[in-house]
């Protein structure tokens, strides 16, 4: 499962960033595929990107004059969220892949969460409301509204957009200043933190994860937990990179559907399914059942 997921992540990242000419010339793809968005966080200013970034697109619609409901992006989020939920984060997001790979580096003792996780996990909702929402509606740079999340926070834009473009385009390199340094600093902190903590950006800051997380409770792709067969051994929670208990896995907004719980369960009572899991308010028996 682990290898399959990594392979899918790599193939999807190459597939959605396959415009090799852009990397060579320091330019971006300008074809019709950019009418559509890719599901994960993938900067459309990446020289290889063949689709649009869903958060960039949402902000572009919010940046229009006055306030108009961004129907196209609401539709996109409902469409992909209802089908996949945060499966997209776990399997199809290029920046998630980068963090996953960094977390495999055996440099320090690994942590699943940061201290004060129970508070910090709401950071992604704050970013969604303040930067993507209010920021894009009310923050002006000159006379034009600015995509505040892209401008001040997005590490994907710095990694996949800025660095390759600045490396191959001298005119852009000359213009890089304080803002670029700020964004580069954020990227470096997040990348270093990823070596120790599992996906810090996804867990605490990603507004796309906040959106898809809401769909986890009813999305088509579910991790189904068979409570009756569970022997409460805790193997799934130990394997879970975001430390979720089996009763939380199905509907939690934090579950990225990585499938590690399913692979770790000795009884096979966790598996990908279309069927939703049991109500998260029902707790399993703490005592393990006697096995004959």
């Amino acid at each position: 499962m682990k290898r399959i997921r990594t392979a899918v992540q790599i193939i999807f990242t190459i597939f959605t960033n396959g415009y090799a000419y852009g990397f060579l010339r320091g330019k971006i793809y300008q074809g019709n595929l950019k009418y559509a968005c890719v599901p994960g966080l993938n900067c459309y200013s990446c020289p290889g990107a063949v689709g649009s970034c869903p958060l960039g697109a949402l902000q572009a619609l919010l940046n229009r004059r006055g306030f108009q409901v961004p129907f196209a992006m609401l539709g996109f989020f409902f469409l992909f969220g209802s089908l996949f939920g945060r499966f997209i984060c776990g399997w199809l997001c290029p920046f998630g892949l980068v963090q996953d790979l960094l977390h495999k580096i055996p440099l320090s003792r690994k942590r699943k969460r940061l201290p004060f996780h129970h508070i910090l996990k709401y950071g992604k909702y704050v970013v969604l409301i303040c930067l993507v929402g209010a920021g894009s509606l009310f923050l002006f740079g000159g006379f034009a509204k600015v995509p505040a999340f892209c401008k001040y926070l997005c590490p994907s834009g710095t990694l996949f957009g800025a660095l390759p473009l600045l490396a191959s385009n001298e005119a852009l390199r000359d213009q890089a200043g304080g803002l670029f340094s700020w964004k580069l600093g954020i990227l470096i902190v997040l990348l270093i933190l990823s070596v120790k903590v599992y996906r810090p950006f996804c867990q605490y800051l990603c507004p796309l994860g906040a959106i898809y997380g809401w769909f986890n409770r009813f999305s088509l792709v579910q991790v189904h937990w068979e409570k009756e067969r569970c022997i409460s051994c805790g193997a799934c929670q130990r394997a879970c990179p975001v430390d979720l208990a089996p009763e939380e896995i199905s509907r939690s907004a934090e579950c990225i559907r990585c499938g590690k719980c399913a692979a770790a369960c000795p009884e096979g009572c966790l598996h990908f399914s279309k069927k939703p899991g049991p109500n998260p308010d029902t707790k399993p028996d703490l005592k393990p059942e006697k096995r004959t």
Partner: protein, 59 residues
Amino acid sequence: MNVMNQWNQKGGSRQHGSRGWLFGLLVGAAFLCIGGIRGELAVIWQKAVMICMECIGIG
């Protein structure tokens, strides 16, 4: 948050769980069509085919 808990306790999420995704899919398709008709996809394309200076930390 309390409202969501009450909703879950009443079995709301269980009832919607099996068909909720289909409802979401239809809503999504409808919204996407409305957005397309209003020319929003063109707005997205216009933004996506230019190098976004804000995204790369220059603008």
